[in-house]
Amino acid sequence: MSDFSTWDILRNLLLAARWTVVLSLVSFIGGGLLGTLLLFMRIGKVSAARAFARYYVELFQGTPLLMQLFLAFFGLGLFGVDVPAWLAAGLALVCWSAAFLMEIWRGCVDAVAKGQWEASASLGMGYLQQMRHIILPQAIRIAVPPTVGFSVQVVKGTALTSIIGFVELSKAGTIVTNATFQPFTVYGFVALIYFALCWPLSKSAQVLERKLNVAHRNH
């Protein structure tokens, strides 16, 4: 009764998975850049910037990603701005990732022992010199595993954008199901593709964590 072979289903899903990958990359890289900016505001010395970064994180961590997508999509529409789904999806995910990455990284900066600040201060280093030569090199090392781990959340987060009509993997799954009436096969493939994207990431986060821990103990 259906004109769709299993290969057709898989091909369509894989084509849509490209957009999941692109959206994930954009969100992660864009979020990383924005997150870095926010991080420096948050740990810097300007109190207005610190407050801004703090409220930013509270806002984006305190509301569901779904609401942020709706607001980006419909909210901007209220102001007469016609936002295409891909733009709303990208924008919301970048802002959302930035908030989480900044929090992760701030934790890593905090994790650098207080004695490191004091020792470098006692050697006459100023704030920026301490950051650049002593604190950040150590914080980055700590930050790699949780950052890679968070990229899994970003990939999964892109699934939500199907709700505002962005055709990525999940949305494609729904469309193909409606055409083929084979939900089990279709969503089985969808799940497999997500797994193929996420598993290497979470696995490498684990491996990195172990490796960097060892590296930290004896080089």
């Binding site: 020792a119 470098s120 201060a121 006692s122 050697l123 100023g126 150590q138 930290h216 004896n218």
Partner: protein
């Protein structure tokens, strides 16, 4: 003229006044031991001299320059006064050589070759020239502390502050660090050290400061302070040991 002049220094954390008017003048080349019970404010005093804590009242002058709480003055002061910590606080991401070079190249803008020469010289001085390329976590505690001393010396300070620098060490490693300090003292370095090593204080120090409840309770040459304590508190403290 005194090298370090501490006048009526007060420091409080919230309602807790930890230093209640400290007066202490240190001459060039003097070695001062600060002793006293836990919580008497010894560390806090050292941290104030180095500007790691800001004082609430009084004044601290080093080589005639006042300690002011702005970044520029603080950094100028810290170039004159080095500090060694109980927990070593070496930079774990840098080699031993890197630890001793980084502040020279970053703060003093010394060229790399020159900084390396200085680093090797200072590491030789503490007997660790051969560890130049090792990482801190490959060293024993005693060796790490000696690297910390070399790192401070590389900035050519006129005085060193040492806060219980042997307290985190295994007993068998204490002497190697004290030997380095002893040598520095013999070479005429001005030292202010918080210590529990009474024998060392007696042998090496020019004056001993007994702190009690945020005040300098007794001060004098070690023979006097140890053999002939004037106050009940010092007698009790020495008896406790």
């Amino acid at each position: 003229m005194s090298l370090i002049e501490i006048t009526e220094v007060r420091k409080a954390f919230g309602d807790n006044e930890v230093l209640k008017g400290i007066n202490l003048d240190v001459q060039p080349g003097e070695v001062i031991a600060i002793i006293g019970k836990s919580g008497s404010g010894k560390s806090t005093l050292l941290r104030c001299i180095n500007g790691l804590e800001t004082i609430n009242a009084g004044s601290i002058a080093v080589a005639g320059a006042q300690l002011l709480p702005d970044e520029l003055h603080l950094r100028a002061l810290r170039l004159k006064v080095g500090m060694i910590f109980q927990q070593f606080n070496l930079f774990p991401h840098l080699t031993v050589g890197g630890n001793v070079m980084v502040s020279q190249t970053v703060v003093k803008k010394t060229g790399k070759a020159e900084a390396e020469t200085m680093a090797r010289k200072m590491l030789d001085r503490v007997g660790l020239g051969h560890k130049f390329d090792a990482y801190p976590d490959e060293l024993s505690g005693g060796q790490q502390q000696r690297v910390a001393i070399a790192r401070a010396l590389a900035m050519e300070p006129i005085a060193l502050l040492c806060d219980e620098i042997t307290s985190a060490l295994d007993p068998e490693l204490v002497q190697e660090v004290l030997a380095v300090v002893r040598e520095l003292a013999a070479e005429g370095m001005t030292l202010i050290m918080v210590t529990h090593e009474m024998k060392f204080a007696r042998d090496v120090c020019s004056r001993v400061v007994f702190m009690h409840q945020g005040r300098v309770h007794e001060i004098g040459p070690p023979e006097e302070v140890f053999s002939n304590p004037q106050t009940a508190e010092l007698k009790q403290f020495l008896g406790m040991l």
